[in-house]
């Protein structure tokens, strides 16, 4: 389901890696901006935590370098008759880090733990009605409706050892106080947790009895968080660390010019877009137009789309590392609509004409809300968008704020337009529709801050989720993409780049979901 | 021993340079105490500093020879000069409180000075230091030597300072106002000590002071200075007894005699003296205004019965709890209307506290005050609008801090008129203020200037004018002239006497100087450690004091007794 576009770099590398023989053993030091909060695989459903723990714990399935779903603790899986669910046949002879064996009981225990109240990964099992133990090495996941993507969607559901967890009082994820599993781990993954000093340093060592063949040549891996980007870059350039992600876009050129270092600039599966207040009767931050909300008129929204020159934003602010986006998910992911891969072209004259047609020839002012520490150069992009919109007469006053308070402001509707980035957890087109396009309810459309609502899209969601035939599913997804584009529900801008920097002698695999897999790292 | 020949010193500052000392010559023989006397600004300290080679940065010796024995002091290199200091010439300063390093024990400072000039062992140095302290009269020197400076009283500390200056047996000691900060009793002892050291050890002294009494009591020869020039020089009895120069005569006339009471100081005019009489009619206008206010009768009678003041003791260090300190102990006193009551006592006797109690600046623990029979509410009880706020006025001791340096004189004087509503109209207030300036002997142009542009004497005149502008009945004078030079003091005392007599102000005149009190007051009260020792008419007191303490006080006050003919 992946075509050539994404991620070329990763594809090329993955083939070479398999052939290279592990060279001399090394301690690999790597850094990132945030420290994983916890070692408990079910406590927090956030990329930094899941990415790190994927080196220690394993799920029934795992994603390969090209995001393809591969067997892991399950050797094979097949759909149960008439879409009742999926059967997973478990791998035998697998042992946890503390030596205890892996079997179906551990899967059942992990499922119970995953759907328990304190767990944060309950949403993965929304469609699961029951889990049945077939035998020691086979388990059935029964779903309320046929769910073709189910195996891929639980790639991050990591299995814990029932014995170890219950003995150490970690049967459930931590609610208020930490449990043993918060700072210790006992997974089946390629690396064992050797030392954990939260916020300072975490040390992993290879798990000798790992069931798969090790493609890395590391003897030890040490992770240290470095909050300040400039300090992180200095740490790399001074040779104290071997790898860091991300580095600021503007420093890519400098790092590449230095000998002994290299940069891997791919694309992350995250689309940055502008959202509107579809359910706002009036503008909330306008000086003069306080009695109506021009953005309710699709022509005004289209004018906004046409007024923004994404090429220049990419060239100047993103240093050419980004990729213009036309839909809510990046090109190349499953369910991407080729039909609607054209985004409205940059035409300020047409934009002004549209505004005139909609009756706002002398423009209006409004509030553009943006985070300043969430996405790459988010604040700079906001200011660029504002200055471009000002050129067609609509004045945005930008209010950039730290992300800690950003989501509350959006949930409270304190915006006229807002910047949002979305990375689909299931790497499929259904994910953004479920969270961003569906009318906001208790479980669905939870990130649809603007309150966009379209009966047709709401109606299509369930069939998309349960349609087994990929062609029929794609037709429905194309229709949804068409509606969103035609109504300009959101203005997708670009797919965010993924910038990893490392020493010359380090080879890694860059996956678009920004997961860093130690098992593909070789230091030569 | 010391020979100064034609010394001139120049001070450079932003307006160019002024000559502080001009063509001064004097010599000091072994064992001789040579007095240097003159009013402030006469250049006495400058000469002392020049001899020591310690002139401030802006100062410079332009001419003259300074020789000590056969060493030419001006030819010495800085290193040689510094080695000479302490070895052959030493110096003593005025305020014992600040002359000793508070963070070093007396022993450390003595031993350090000794070792600086003689290579002897530390034990030897300590032994000599202890012997020296014994010699200058510090009891139990062996243990007292290890004490810190703040553990000594003022007088004892000055003895330590003298010991420090003496310990390297210098040939000459320059004492710059050594006794000015001391009480009369302690002053007498220190002067005796200096006398003894000069005769017994043959040490030469240059005694710099503005107090003619001190010069008379202890100096062998004296040089009278004015404006940096020598007015007269010679043996003390002759110079002070039969002054040749008019300035010396005027100086002697201004010294308040202890043996008799003058009705008024007769100050002969001395050429060059800038006496600016206020314009007569302006003064009369102020006089009429005052007369209209106070009416014909004399000022109110002041009675104080069993007034006691206790201060919460200074928290002596972090460790001890506070113990209370009784400043006044059941003092009962009455001042007859329209008369001057002199209040005398050593520092710490509580005389200022008494004035502050009357002025409601200090809260009495017990006791009662009455003004013409009516209760005078103490501090805390006396509301700001109470009539006594106007009737009771005070002139403070330090002329430099009793006037707000940021206000013009016209504002300072206008304040009481405005505050007590004596004169609503601003224009009238200004006129009245100028008139009052004339009454106290200052010209009207003073109104526009700031306090820092006046001399100490002029400032006290302004302070008196301020007091008068509230038409007071009772005037409290807390040592009004002790910070002034003798001649200025005489003028201010004359002013107070005239004003008191003319307007019948009841006055409480406080001083530590018996001679001054004798000139001012009809009645006298003597305070010691907060208790009233004696009270009564002053003439009978001075004829023969009843209390032994009073007699000692009178005996120790240095008096100019050279059979000088009355002024």
């Amino acid at each position: 389901m992946f075509n050539r576009k994404i991620p070329a770099a990763a594809m090329a590398l993955s083939t070479t890696v398999l052939l290279a023989l592990p060279a001399a053993a090394e301690t690999f030091r790597w850094a990132g901006t945030t420290d994983p909060q916890t070692m408990d695989p079910h406590a927090v459903n956030a990329t930094p935590v899941l990415s790190f723990l994927n080196n220690v714990y394993e799920g029934l399935v795992r994603r390969g370098p090209d995001m393809s779903v591969q067997p892991s603790l399950a050797t094979s899986w097949e759909a149960l008759p008439d879409g009742a669910g999926w059967r997973f046949n478990l791998r035998e002879g697998v042992t946890f880090h503390d030596g205890s064996a892996f079997d179906a009981d551990d899967v059942l225990f992990s499922y119970e733990r995953g759907v328990s109240e304190p767990s944060d990964v309950r949403s993965w099992f929304a469609s699961v009605t029951d889990v049945v133990r077939v035998n020691d090495y086979a388990v059935d996941f029964l779903t309320s409706a046929p769910n073709p993507l189910f195996p891929g969607s639980i790639a991050n559901f990591m299995i814990m050892d029932e014995g170890w967890a219950t003995e150490n009082g970690a049967a459930l994820p931590a609610r208020e106080a930490e449990t043993h599993a918060t700072r210790n781990a006992n997974g089946t993954g390629p690396f064992m947790l050797d030392a954990r000093d939260p916020g300072i340093e975490t040390r992993l060592v290879p798990h000798e009895a790992w069931w798969d063949t090790a493609e890395h040549n590391l003897t030890e891996a040490v992770f240290t968080p470095i909050g300040n980007p400039a300090t992180g870059l200095a740490a790399l350039l001074s040779g104290e660390i071997d790898f860091i992600s991300p580095i600021p876009l503007q420093d890519v050129e400098q790092v590449e010019q230095r000998d002994g270092f290299k940069v891997l600039a791919g694309l992350e599966t995250r689309v940055i877009m502008l959202g509107f207040g579809h359910d706002h009767e009036t503008l909330k931050y306008s000086e003069e137009t306080t009695d109506e909300n021009p953005f309710l008129d699709p022509r005004v929204r289209l004018a906004v789309a046409k007024a923004i020159d994404v090429e220049t934003i990419d060239r100047v602010i993103m240093r050419g590392a980004a990729e213009p986006a036309s839909q809510l998910l990046p090109e190349g992911l499953s369910g991407y609509s080729e039909e609607h891969s054209e985004r409205p072209e940059f035409d300020p004259e047409a934009a002004r004409a549209l505004l005139e047609e909609a009756g706002y020839s002398d423009g209006f002012s409004f509030g553009l809300m943006c985070p300043n520490d969430r996405y790459i150069n988010d604040e700079a992009v906001c200011r660029a968008v504002a200055s471009m919109l000002a050129r067609i007469g609509i004045d945005a006053n930008v209010n950039a704020m730290p992300v800690r308070g950003y989501w509350d402001e959006l949930r409270a509707g304190n915006f006229d337009m807002y910047l949002l980035g979305w990375s689909p957890g299931t790497f499929d087109a259904e994910h953004p529709v479920r969270f961003l396009a569906h009318t906001p309810t208790e479980r669905l459309g939870t990130w649809n801050f603007g309150g966009y609502s379209n009966e047709r899209i709401d109606a299509l969601l369930a069939p998309i989720q349960s349609e087994v035939d990929p062609v029929a599913r794609q037709v429905m997804l194309d229709e949804v993409a068409g509606i969103l584009q035609e109504e300009v529900a959101y203005v997708p801008l670009y797919t965010q780049p993924l910038i990893w920097a490392m020493k010359e002698n380090v080879d890694v695999v860059q996956r678009p979901d920004n997961f860093f897999m130690l098992r593909w790292v070789t230091v030569n | 021993m010391l020979k100064v020949d034609g010394l001139s010193v120049l001070f450079r500052h932003r307006h160019g340079a002024t000559t502080a000392v001009e063509d001064v010559s004097l010599d000091v023989a072994r064992g001789e105490i040579h007095g240097l006397v003159g009013e402030s600004g006469a250049g006495k300290s400058t000469i002392g500093a020049a001899v020591m080679g310690l002139l401030p940065a802006a100062g410079e010796i332009t001419s003259g020879a300074l020789t000590l024995g056969d060493t030419d002091l001006r030819a010495l290199s800085p290193v040689e000069a510094h080695r000479l200091r302490g070895k052959r010439i030493s110096m003593i300063f005025q305020d014992p409180q600040t002359s000793l390093n508070p963070l070093m024990t007396v022993e450390a400072q003595l031993v350090e000075t000794l070792l600086a000039h003689e290579d002897i062992s530390v034990d030897e140095a300590r032994a000599r230091a202890i012997a020296l302290l014994d010699e200058i009269g510090i009891a139990d020197a062996a243990t007292r030597i290890r004490a810190w400076p703040h553990q000594f009283s003022g007088g004892m500390r000055q003895r330590v300072v003298i010991a420090l200056a003496l310990c390297t047996n210098p040939e000459l000691i320059i004492a710059d106002e050594p006794t000015t900060a001391l009480d009369v009793a302690v002053q007498a002892q220190v002067l005796d000590l200096i006398r003894r050291l000069a005769t017994k050890r043959g040490v030469g002294f240059i005694l710099i002071t503005h107090d003619i009494g001190v010069i008379a009591q202890v100096s062998d020869r004296v040089t009278v200075l004015r404006g940096g020039r020598v007015v007269e020089q010679g043996p003390t009895p002759r110079v002070l007894g039969q002054p040749g120069q008019p300035y010396t005569k005027a100086l002697m006339a201004a010294v308040p005699p202890l043996d008799r009471r003058l009705d008024r100081f007769r100050l002969p005019r001395v050429e060059g003296e800038r006496e600016v009489p206020g314009s007569a009619d302006a003064a009369r206008e102020a006089e009429d205004w005052l007369m209209a206010g106070t009416g014909t009768g004399p000022g109110p009678a002041l009675e104080m019965s069993d007034v006691t003041v206790r201060f919460r003791g200074e928290r002596r260090g972090i460790f001890g709890a506070r113990e209370n300190f009784t400043a006044l102990d059941t003092v009962s006193l009455s001042v007859r209307p329209g008369t001057v009551m002199g209040l005398v006592g050593e520092s710490g006797s509580g005389k200022s506290t008494l004035a502050k109690v009357v002025a409601a600046l200090v809260r009495p623990a017990e006791g009662e005050m009455r003004l013409d029979g009516a209760v005078l509410p103490p501090m805390g009880a006396r509301r700001r609008s109470d009539p006594s706020r106007r009737i009771v006025q005070m002139v403070f001791q330090d002329p430099y801090s009793s006037l707000n340096s940021r206000h013009r004189v016209i504002d300072i004087l206008g304040e009481p008129l405005w505050l007590y509503g004596l004169e609503r109209d601003a224009g009238r207030r200004a006129r009245l203020a100028r008139a009052m300036l004339a009454l106290v002997g200052l010209d009207a142009t003073a109104a526009e200037r700031h306090p820092h542009q006046f001399s100490g004497g002029q400032r006290q005149r302004i302070a008196v004018a301020r007091a008068l502008l509230s038409r007071p009945g009772l005037l409290l004078c807390d040592e009004p002239t002790s910070a002034l030079d003798v001649s200025i003091q005489a003028q201010i005392l004359n002013l107070l006497k005239d004003l008191q007599a003319r307007f019948g102000l009841t006055t409480l005149f406080i001083s530590h100087d018996l001679a001054v009190v004798r000139q001012m007051s009809e009645d006298i009260a003597v305070l010691k450690d907060g208790r009233l020792v004696e009270t009564g008419p002053s003439e009978t007191f001075f004829a023969g004091p009843a209390a032994q303490y009073s007699r000692d006080l009178l005996a120790q006050t240095p008096a100019v007794r050279f059979g000088m003919e009355a002024g």
Partner: protein, 324 residues
């Protein structure tokens, strides 16, 4: 003595309570912790339940009472982010901040005092003027710029010193120190220099002004008049009298050191309490923020008390009571 200390401790409790109240009032305004603690796909329902479980819906004063009650019992509560006991977190971060602070203060004293004395004794000297203006420029550049510059100069270009973090630490009981290894000291140099520079200028200017003042006092003039050697006049008489007021000011400055450490720790990724506080702000981890501030207030009050006691220890006028 005991009375004095008791009185100060009572006052310190009041100060800490006030700080706790102020810190806790942050609870309402800095942002919603729940959105930081849960993932992207967590349903609103789950978020609501988490908020209820953590007692965040209780009225403000109930939460504050619970917070102070726990504090008094020594239970500092748990971090929203890592669920760790906050007492333990702060204890593990405390040595880093204290060591950095003390070394920075030492740097400012060891360099500041001699420089202050030199510029006081030779006010017009060329070297003095350059020192004065030089340190002024140092103080005028924002701390974080200086930090980054030092990192790039000494860490990247010259490679002499580590660019971040705290190497070579040795565990002594719960106290993790970097003072016992060369590596530990190497990682301390740059942060201590950055943090110390501001204090250094302040100390130098203070010593300079105070020294010039003392050189004019009577007892110094009397010492000169006694021919006491210049070296003793300057360093024994003058300097000791200079140090007394300087010590109190430096004691107060230590509070400033802790405040500035937030910036320095974030630039050098120095695992101290300042960095923890910054991260807790970014993550709206309110219990950690509140406890940090109360602990800082406690340190501040403790330092004030120590400075007062030091003052007494040095100045005999306060120490020895009886007078003759």
């Amino acid at each position: 003595m005991v009375g004095f200390i008791l009185k100060r401790l009572v006052q310190s409790v009041f100060v800490m309570l006030a700080v706790a109240f102020l810190a806790f009032s942050l609870f309402r305004f800095v942002g919603d912790p729940i959105s930081q603690m849960t993932g992207v796909e967590t349903s609103l329902e789950d978020q609501a339940r988490l908020r209820e479980d953590l007692g965040l819906n209780d009225p403000y004063f109930v939460q504050f009472a619970r917070f102070t009650g726990d504090m008094l019992r020594g239970d500092f509560g748990y971090s929203f982010r890592t669920r760790e006991p906050i007492g333990e977190m702060l204890l593990s971060r405390l040595p880093a901040t204290l060591e950095l602070g003390v070394v920075a203060l030492l740097v400012s004293l060891v360099v500041g005092i001699p420089a202050g004395v030199y510029t006081a004794l030779r006010p017009r000297g060329i070297l003095s003027q350059t020192i004065l203006v030089g340190t002024l420029i140092g103080v005028s550049i924002p701390t974080f710029v200086i930090g980054i510059l030092l990192i790039f100069l000494f860490g990247v270009q010259l490679g002499w010193l580590p660019t971040f973090g705290r190497g070579g630490t040795v565990e002594i009981g719960w106290w993790r120190s970097s003072l016992f290894t060369a590596e530990g000291w190497r990682s301390l140099v740059l942060p201590a220099l950055t943090l110390g520079l501001f204090q250094l200028t302040l100390t130098m200017r203070l010593v300079r002004a105070q020294m010039m003042e003392v050189m004019r006092t009577d007892h110094i003039r009397f010492a000169i008049a006694r021919g006491v050697p210049w070296r003793s006049i300057r360093y024994r008489h003058a300097l000791s009298n200079t140090m007394i007021p300087v010590i109190t000011i430096i004691g107060l400055q230590f509070g400033g050191v802790i405040a500035f450490s937030i910036v320095t720790e974030s630039v050098f990724q120095w695992p101290g309490m300042g960095l923890l506080f910054l991260e807790s702000i970014r993550f709206v981890d309110i219990p950690v923020m509140s406890v940090y501030l109360v602990v800082i207030a406690f340190f501040f009050v403790l330092i004030n008390l120590l400075v007062d006691l030091l003052y007494v220890a040095i100045d005999p006028r306060l120490r020895v009571r009886e007078s003759v």
